[in-house]
């Protein structure tokens, strides 16, 4: 390989490295602030649904210490006061409530007899109105309910 071509290859490697690093910084700029503050959740800047996911993660972390080990718990964003299925939230809850037993949202339906519903409900953002439950704690991101 000629010396000129060799030098061009070396220049291309350094130029490519610089452009790639600049692109990384550009992507950080596009995803926006916070730049120095610690984010509230690991998903704060990721994906188009980041606000919804962020609220769910923050709420789950807040209520997890309030739920006893091995208790049954379900997590959803209520619609018109009722449970609403959300696979993403169910899978996320399985990780956040690893010491409890996570059930799907149908375990808190109004038609289910009260003794058979999940012991705890983590309701994201919207109020949950099933009379089998009483509110235990409320946060800006939602609330925790316990079976009466």
């Amino acid at each position: 390989m000629s010396s000129l071509r060799s030098r061009a290859a070396i220049g291309a490697i350094y130029a490519a490295s610089s452009i790639l690093v600049a692109s990384v910084v550009y992507r950080y700029h596009v995803t926006g602030g916070l730049y120095v503050e610690r984010p509230a959740s690991v998903m704060d800047h990721s994906g188009p649904d980041r606000v919804a996911i962020r609220d769910a993660l923050v709420l789950m972390d807040r209520v997890a210490p309030l739920i006893p080990r091995r208790a049954t718990v379900t997590c959803f964003r209520p619609k018109d006061g009722d449970p609403w299925p959300d696979t993403g939230l169910l899978l996320t809850a399985a990780g956040r409530f690893a010491r409890q037993s996570v059930l799907d949202s149908s375990s808190a339906r109004r038609v289910t007899p009260c003794p058979e519903v999940a012991e705890y409900v983590v309701a994201i953002a919207e109020p949950f109105t099933n009379p089998c439950y009483a509110e235990v704690a409320r946060y800006p991101e939602g609330a925790l309910y316990r079976r009466r």
Binding site: M1, S6, L20, V21, S23, V24, R27, Y28, M43, G95
Partner: protein, 420 residues
């Protein structure tokens, strides 16, 4: 505090891979490369040990892990005490460190977290840590079907190991594995390449590799998921086979192939492609077949376990129809969805450096792996009747290995430039 213990726990994984320092080819490497190989091998070793413990119903615990770590260190002791290859820090090393820090900044400001961390890698790890072992009943729960019940346990086991030491899952700690994978991949590459292409050239390519891996991770939002590990095993496996033609080089590659195959289904395809490409481009089918033995045993034991508990899913889809009529739209969607949100820059960089290849024989193996991984990705997508969402959410991550092998082809050709 538990976040810190979790992170320290991740770092202690190096100890489980110190046995690799007994391999001559690892012994000759510089210290950063040796540590990187130890870290990568350690993930394979500890996940295999944790799987074995679950098979024999031995509960995971801090004391078990401390005993295993002590045994692993003792077994490697004669090799640890020997001196590593010479390493003189260069300016490119400072650049690599800066890139790793820039990536770490993005990771810890939650700019590139992979949704799969929340949906299945993390939940599996947290649950396994809570019940102190792999739990087939959890994996078989139909509510958790989307967690891929038959995916091998390497990544959840690595997280569960650190979580067991910390007594708590650290979601922030899991993200650190991405910059660690970048550093380990780049240091391994540089250490393996330096004896062949020279310190200066190896340093330059390592710098570019670091920038490329960082951009791919950021562009595909991969932090916390399995893909950074697949990229790490790709870089180590391909570099070892390209730059070290001894038995030791092949031994390093075998460990990387075990890691890929024990991580997820795409890693299994990657391992098979690397072995096939090696057989074809070197015309050494026996040596290639020898590469397959350990990964086949490791993956085979997991699949036997998964079949026993009726968990098989992704690994039992060979009978599904291939929608070959969808080839054109799938190619179009893949092309459109693999821009890394920076105008296809990682592709452009890898292709640009290929223009400088003067001898294609040496570059043939990584190029074949690159083509093979691209073809395998398309093949996977063609098994879905409507893969648009799947492509949109995964193409950039799974094609990371394709881009990296394109890049490694130009570094591989550098060797002949020096030799000539």
């Amino acid at each position: 505090m538990s976040d810190l213990v979790f992170i320290l726990g991740l770092l202690t994984i190096c100890g489980f891979g110190l046995w690799t320092w007994r391999i001559d080819s690892v012994q000759r490497l510089d210290t950063p490369a040796r540590l990187s190989i130890a870290f990568s091998s350690g993930m394979v070793t500890i996940s295999a040990a944790m799987f074995l413990a679950s098979v024999v119903h031995l509960a995971w615990s801090r004391s078990l892990f401390v005993i295993l770590l002590a045994l692993a260190t003792l077994a490697a002791w004669p090799a640890i005490s020997r001196r590593a290859g010479k390493w003189r820090p260069r300016l490119t090393d400072a650049g690599i460190l800066v890139i790793a820090l820039v990536l770490a900044y993005g990771v810890f400001t939650a700019r590139l977290t992979c949704a799969d961390l929340l949906f299945f890698w993390g939940p599996k790890a947290a649950h396994f840590q809570a019940v102190r072992g792999i739990d087939p009943a959890f994996l078989a729960n139909p509510n958790y079907y989307l967690m891929h019940p038959d995916y091998p346990p390497l990544l959840p086991a690595v997280y569960a190991y650190a979580a067991t030491l910390a007594q708590r899952m650290s979601w922030w700690g899991t993200l650190l594995l991405t910059p660690l994978s970048l550093l380990a991949g780049v240091a391994s590459f540089r250490g393996l390449a330096a004896p062949k292409i020279g310190e200066a050239a190896a340093g330059r390519y390592a710098l570019a590799l670091a920038a490329l891996m960082a951009m791919i991770a950021v562009g595909s939002s991969a932090a916390g998921g399995a893909d950074p590990l697949i990229w790490l095993f790709t870089v180590i496996g391909v570099s070892a086979l390209v730059f070290d033609e001894s038995n030791g080089g092949r031994a390093i590659a075998v460990i990387a192939l075990c890691g890929a195959a024990f991580t997820k289904v795409e890693g299994t395809a990657l391992a098979a492609i690397i072995i096939a490409a090696y057989a074809v481009t070197t015309r050494r089918p026996k040596a290639a077949a020898a590469l397959a033995i350990a990964p086949a045993i490791l993956l085979g034991s997991w699949l036997t376990y998964a079949a026993h508990y009726r968990l098989l899913d992704s690994y039992a889809r060979s009978g599904e129809p291939l929608h070959s009529d969808q080839l054109a739209p799938v190619l179009r969607q893949v092309a459109w969805s693999s821009s890394y949100r920076v105008w296809w820059l990682p592709w452009a960089v890898a292709l640009l450096l290929i223009l400088f290849i003067s001898n294609w024989r040496r570059a043939a193996f990584p190029l074949a792996v690159s083509l093979g991984t691209f073809a395998a990705t398309i093949y996977f997508y063609l098994h879905s009747a409507d893969p648009a969402f799947w492509i949109r959410t995964s193409a950039e991550r799974v094609l990371g290995a394709t881009v990296l092998c394109l890049f490694l082809a130009s570094a591989a050709a550098e060797e002949l430039r020096i030799e000539n």
